[in-house]
Symmetry: C2
Subunit: 467 residues, 2 copies
C-alpha cells in the first residue's frame, strides 16, 4: 500500500480481517454457492499440436504462435553464462507483452470493508472453478472498456489511465511481475478500488471480508493466483507493540505493522538487493524456440519437453465450454511436471516475527533478482535450505496449503505453500543470498513494481491465514 | 532518498546546500584546479569503421561488436505498431547489459557534509574534462574490487553486494535507468556512502559542498551526467511552510520538502502512471542491426545514419591518451545530430511550486513509460508544449544551461536544460500525458528504480541551482 494516508485504511483493513464472518454473505453458504457455479460446464482435453486450430509453429523460428499474433506465444529464452560457475541456458518461455488488469472492488457494509470476489473458471485450473478478483482483463478488454466491454465491473478499473475518469477511489494501482521462470517480462496491473455505489448482484460474485477470505486461503486450490497477488497488497496490520508470548497469528499481524522493529532498515535491505542485482548474471534474451534444442528441449507430436526431464512441458488442449459465447477452442498450455514448493522460514528476532527472504533471479524477470520466499523450488528442483523446511516438526508448521497458478496459461500448476517457524538449530545468520525482513517491510515494497516476486506475494497474502 | 530516518539527513543536506563556499576547497580555486587537470592529454579523432581495431560488424546480424563480446554493442531495436496511430519503428540501440556503479563519497568537515568529486576525462565529453562522481565503474571493475582494483575509492561502493562488508554508511543505493532513446534496458547503480575515514588526497579529487556543486551546475558542460543523476537522489529541502511571495530559489527548496502540499497525492500519481504504462504500446525488442535498414538506417564507410535525417549517427573514433596505461584505442561513439532540449514548466499551485511532468516511453526503457520533463526533444524532434517553453519571456526563465551526456558512449551529446515559470496563458489543466507534481514527490520516487527518467533526474539535480 502506498505511503500517503494509509493510517485510516490500515485500521479499516484490520476491521475487515477481524470479521471472520459477515451477514452480507455468511461463510456457511460459501460451499453451496461455489458448487452452484457448476464447474461441469467446462471440459479440457489434450490434443496433439496438429489439432490446434489457429495455432502453429513458425517454420523459421519454431515459435508457437496464434495466427493473429494475439494472445501469447511460446518462444525461446537464452540466459548467458555468468562468467563464473553457471553455463548458458536455453528454455521455452511464454511471451505475452500485454499488461493484464487484476482488480478488486472494495465497499463498506456496516462499517466493515468487503471485497467483491468472483467464482471464475479457467481451463487449466485445478478444480476448474476458483475464487478470483472482481476483474481479470487483458489490455484489449481494458482498452474497449468505455465502448461497452463484456467484462463485468471493468469500468471501475479501466478509467484511471491517461485522460480517463475513474469511478471510485483508487487505493492501490501498481504493476507487478508474474512468474519469471515461465514468462518473459510479464506484468499485471494490480488495483483495489473503493466504491460507494450500489453494485447489482450477480450469481458469480459475492462480497467477502478479509477475514472470510483468509479462512478460504486455508483450503487447497480455492483462491486463485490473481486474487492472491492483489490481496498481498491490501494487508491488515496490528496497531501497537508486539504482545509478549503472543500467538503466531498475532505475531504475523504485528510483523505486518509499521510499529514492528526490523532487524535491518529498509534502506539497508534495498542496498543489499541493489548489490545482488548489480552482480547478477546478465539478463536473458528472447531467441527462437528452435534454439532451445541446444538444451534438449524437443518437440514431439503431443508435447514440447526437455530430454531427461525438466520442470514443465508445453501441451495442446481443447477447451469445451458449452454455455459460453465461444463454446470450444484450442490453445497451448504449460504443464508443470510436478508440484512446486514455496516456503517462508520465520523467526522472532527481538520479539518481532521476521521472514527469511531470498534475492534471486528468474530468467524471465524484468529487472533482475526480486525478493523470493526463503525456499522456492520448481518441480524437480532443489534448494540449499529445502531440508530445513521439509524437516520442520508439525508443531512448527504454521501454514501448509497447496495453491495453483493461473489457469489460463498453466494446466494444473500446483505449488505447496508453507510458513514454518525456525527450529533452534536454524542458522539465524542469513547467508549472502538471504535477509530477515518483517512482513510489513515486504508489504511496503509491494507498492512498487519488480521488488517482491509473485511467489513471495502469495505467501504474504496467505500469512494472515497462518495459525 | 529512502523513507527511513531521512529527517536528520535532510537537515544536514540543507546545511551543505546553504554552504556556497567552503574552507575545505574554496570555490575561487576551482577553475585553476580544473585547468591543471590538463585536458590536452586526451585527443579524439574520427576514423572509418574499417580502422576500428577489435570492433567489427557481424556478418549475419550486422551488429557492431567488440571481438571479446565485452564493453557494449550496437544492435537494432524494433518497436511494434501500437494498433492505433503509431507504425512499427526500427532504430540502432546501444546494448550494454552490465550495470555500472556511480558512487559519491560524503564526509563531514566542520559539521557540513562535503562530497568527493572527481575531474574526469571521457573521450566524447564536451570540453573533455568534467566534474564526475567519486567513482564510475563497470560491473567488471566492481567485481574485481576486493582483489585490488585500479578504480580509486571503489572499495567504498563495492562491498555492499551479496556477502560483502561495506565501508561507511550507505545513504542511497538504487538502480536507475539511462537514456531509453539510445540504450536498451541500461541501468546504473547509484550510491551515496558516508565515511568518517581520512581519505588520502589526490590531485583529481576535491571535497565540495552541495552549495558549491549547485553553483557549478549553472555553468555549461561542467558537471557530468553521472554526477547529476546521483545528485538527483540527495536533494536538500527547506523545513517549514512555504514563505509567501518567496523567491524562486526558496520555492524550489520548499517544493523539495515533505511539508509542501501537492495537488495530487502520490498514490494518485502512481495510479496515473500505472494507467499510462498499462495502455502504452507493446515493449520494443532487440533485432539484428541489419533490420533497421527498413527504417532507412544505412551504414557507410564512416558512419551509420538514417537516410533523410535522424536524431543521431554512429561513428568510429580513435582516442589518444598518452599518459594512460592504454595510450590509444578505437571505439564506436554515438553522435547526436544536434542539441536536445529538456524543460520543466513550473507553476505555483496553492502557493507551492509544482513542475509539469510527462509520462512517456522511450523505446529502450525497461519498464515502459517513466516520468519525464514537461518537454523533452531529441535533436530535430518536436513536442506539443515546445513553443510554450521557447516563448517564455527571459524574466521567467529560471534555469537555462547546456549540459552533456556520458562521454564514454556519446560524442558531444548536448542538451539544453530549462526551468521556466508558466505564463498566465499556460494551461494549468494538465493534458492526459502530464501531471503537476512537487519536486519532493519526484525526489521520493528516485528512491525506486524505473520511475523518474534520467532527463527528469538531471533537471531535479539542477533545480537548486535555479535563480
Amino acid at each position: 500500500m502506498s505511503e500517503t494516508d494509509t493510517h485510516g485504511l490500515q485500521r479499516r483493513l484490520r476491521l475487515s480481517a477481524a470479521a471472520e464472518d459477515s451477514p452480507v454473505f455468511p461463510q456457511d453458504r460459501f460451499d453451496a454457492w461455489l458448487a452452484g457455479r457448476s464447474a461441469e460446464r467446462f471440459r479440457v482435453s489434450r490434443v496433439p499440436f496438429a489439432d490446434l486450430e489457429q495455432w502453429s509453429f513458425d517454420s523459421g523460428s519454431g515459435n508457437l504462435r496464434h495466427r493473429t499474433g494475439r494472445f501469447f506465444s511460446i518462444e525461446g529464452l537464452w540466459t548467458p553464462a555468468d562468467g563464473q560457475d553457471a553455463a548458458q541456458e536455453y528454455q521455452p518461455v511464454i511471451v505475452q507483452p500485454e499488461i493484464g488488469t487484476l482488480g478488486i472492488l472494495m465497499k463498506d457494509f456496516g462499517g466493515v470493508p468487503h471485497f467483491l470476489m468472483q467464482a471464475k473458471m479457467e481451463p487449466g485450473n485445478v478444480n476448474t472453478l476458483q475464487l478470483s478478483p472482481t476483474v481479470q482483463a487483458t489490455r484489449s478488454n481494458s482498452a474497449r472498456a468505455h465502448g461497452g466491454s463484456t467484462v463485468r465491473h471493468l469500468e471501475f478499473f479501466a478509467g484511471h489511465g491517461p485522460g480517463g475518469t475513474g469511478r471510485g477511489r483508487v487505493l492501490l494501482d501498481v504493476l507487478q511481475s508474474e512468474h519469471g521462470s515461465y514468462f518473459l517480462h510479464k506484468r499485471n496491473r494490480h488495483m483495489v478500488v473503493e466504491t460507494q455505489e450500489d453494485i447489482p448482484e450477480h450469481e458469480d460474485f459475492r462480497w467477502l471480508t478479509l477475514g472470510q477470505i483468509h479462512r478460504l486461503l486455508r483450503r487447497d486450490h480455492l483462491v486463485n493466483m490473481d486474487a492472491r497477488t492483489v490481496l498481498s497488497c491490501v494487508l491488515p496490520g496490528a496497531a501497537g507493540p508486539a504482545p509478549a508470548g503472543s500467538s503466531f497469528a498475532d505475531a504475523v499481524l504485528h510483523s505486518l505493522s509499521r510499529s514492528a522493529a526490523p532487524r535491518h532498515s529498509l534502506p539497508e535491505l534495498m542496498s543489499w538487493l541493489t548489490g545482488v542485482r548489480t552482480h547478477a548474471r546478465p539478463p536473458a534474451r528472447p531467441v527462437p524456440l528452435r534454439a532451445t534444442a541446444a538444451d534438449g528441449w524437443l518437440r514431439g507430436p503431443d508435447r514440447l519437453e526437455r530430454r531427461g526431464g525438466g520442470p514443465f512441458t508445453v501441451v495442446g488442449a481443447r477447451v469445451e465450454a458449452p454455455t459460453r459465447e465461444v463454446p470450444s477452442w484450442t490453445q497451448p498450455l504449460v504443464e508443470p511436471t510436478g508440484t512446486a514448493l514455496s516456503a517462508f522460514v520465520t523467526a522472532r528476532l527481538g520479539g518481532v516475527l521476521h521472514v527469511l527472504v531470498e534475492a534471486r533471479a528468474e530468467p524471465g524477470c524484468l529487472d533482475g533478482p526480486e525478493l523470493h520466499p526463503t525456499v522456492h523450488c520448481l518441480p524437480g528442483g532443489t534448494h540449499p535450505l529445502l531440508d530445513h523446511v521439509l524437516g520442520t516438526p508439525p508443531s512448527r508448521v504454521r501454514y501448509d496449503v497447496e495453491l495453483s497458478e493461473e489457469g489460463g496459461r498453466f494446466h494444473h500448476a500446483r505449488c505447496r505453500n508453507l510458513m514454518v517457524e525456525a527450529e533452534d538449530a536454524f542458522p539465524l545468520d542469513a547467508p549472502a543470498t538471504h535477509r530477515w525482513m518483517t512482513l510489513g517491510q515486504l508489504a511496503r515494497l509491494t507498492g512498487f513494481g519488480q521488488y517482491v516476486s509473485i511467489q513471495a506475494r502469495t505467501l504474504l497474502a496467505c500469512a494472515p491465514a497462518a495459525v
